[in-house]
Symmetry: C2
Subunit: 235 residues, 2 copies
């Protein structure tokens, strides 16, 4: 049987739906049985990641660890987390995991795609939560591979990016789309060659942004493709 | 904390995505934490339900039981199954379950909605797999409450209903929509007051069927609403 993917989700829940949908729709299959086996732990009560990184909120780590344990007991072979910000705790989680459990890392997989596109040295824009920016996960990953790292200024970050992400989390996708699209256009005007939608709420809002589709990169989709490849690879 | 819903899914995987999406989008919430906790077991390798009921294929019951055990170990409070046909095995599954585990039954919830709509005595059409028809789960549930039960004739069932469901499972949603819409119109012409989309692939295909929206009843949505209500009710 294909390897079982464990999804540590609920951060947020709509992002987990989007990820699950991408996995199913990107899997080449002509019947149910050719799809990959997954267990999705979607517990949105895990505390918010950004305030924790900024030192103003409770840590999500105990909740993430509880999710990891539930997925381990259920017998998964690999863990994927459809929340960019949560990857700040990925190394700590890996240290607690059972021997041999594989982690599919959203930042590493995204950087691999950029390398394959042969845009090394180019300006790569990042739209992400304040928590993800502060954590440095994309900044370090990109700079280590020779990319220039470009982010919105402080006002754009607060009003357009965080405002847009919050709108999506509250269910107002059109408002989120409008704010996030403005933020992406600002980065494009500043010379971004590619823009990473580095928060799983962003691809939900910008799914139909035709004017940006050649520049936007979707880590949720990249993570989904990496999970399918891992599940279908030989043990 | 809200009660944890365990989803025995993967039958098929796109139906599980649709169910998960409906739960999240129907939950009144202004942030992640107000959403309900869920664990989704999506293992599409569970053998197909219809051939098993017809006596021509392997039973899905051992696979369903394995999923139940994984969800029990993960600590869920209730089980929902976004696959109508699989409810043929629900009573057997309930007998194997841990004491106190609650089951939210897609047929019972759908019949409750019909009762609340005060259409008792009316013709209720059913679009479902051959397995679901043969199992009698909807037929018994509807007749016990005084509804008339209406199904497609044998050719319509084979060509339009099963053909449409198979198209959705293989990813061809437009083809599925075209076939299933024809089947629904036939039942409407024969006097159906309401038509139950009694296979979780059907609402995916007929999501945008404007000409049928006043007559179609979506058990996936009804199950999602019942799960939200159960999760948010007091322990």
């Amino acid at each position: 049987m294909a390897r079982m993917i464990g999804v540590l989700g609920g951060m947020g829940p709509l992002a987990s739906v989007d990820f699950f949908h991408k996995v199913v729709s990107l899997t080449p299959a002509s019947n149910d049985q050719e799809h990959i086996p997954m267990i999705i732990y979607s517990v949105p009560q895990i505390p918010d990641r950004t305030p924790a990184i900024l030192g103003t909120g409770e840590s999500p780590f105990p909740g993430m660890l509880e999710g990891l344990r539930a997925l381990e007991r259920a017998g998964v072979d690999a863990i994927a987390i459809p929340c960019n910000t949560a990857h700040f705790w990925l190394e700590s989680l890996r240290k607690e995991a059972l021997d041999g459990l594989h982690f599919i890392h959203i930042v590493e997989e995204t950087v691999k795609v950029l390398i394959s596109e042969k845009v090394v040295g180019a300006n790569i824009g990042l739209l992400a939560t304040v928590g993800t920016l502060k954590s440095g996960i994309y900044e370090q990953g990109l700079k280590a591979q020779g990319f220039n790292y470009l982010i919105p200024d402080e006002n754009e970050q607060a009003d357009l990016v965080m405002g847009g992400i919050k709108a999506v989390k509250a269910g107002d996708v059109p408002k989120g789309a409008s704010l996030l699209s403005k933020a992406a256009h600002k980065l494009k005007a500043r010379g971004a060659k590619r823009i990473i939608m580095g928060c799983t709420e962003i691809p939900i809002a910008l799914a139909n942004a035709e004017d940006l589709k050649d520049i936007l990169l979707d880590p949720t989709k990249i993570l989904a493709e990496a999970c399918i490849a891992y599940s279908k690879s030989k043990n």
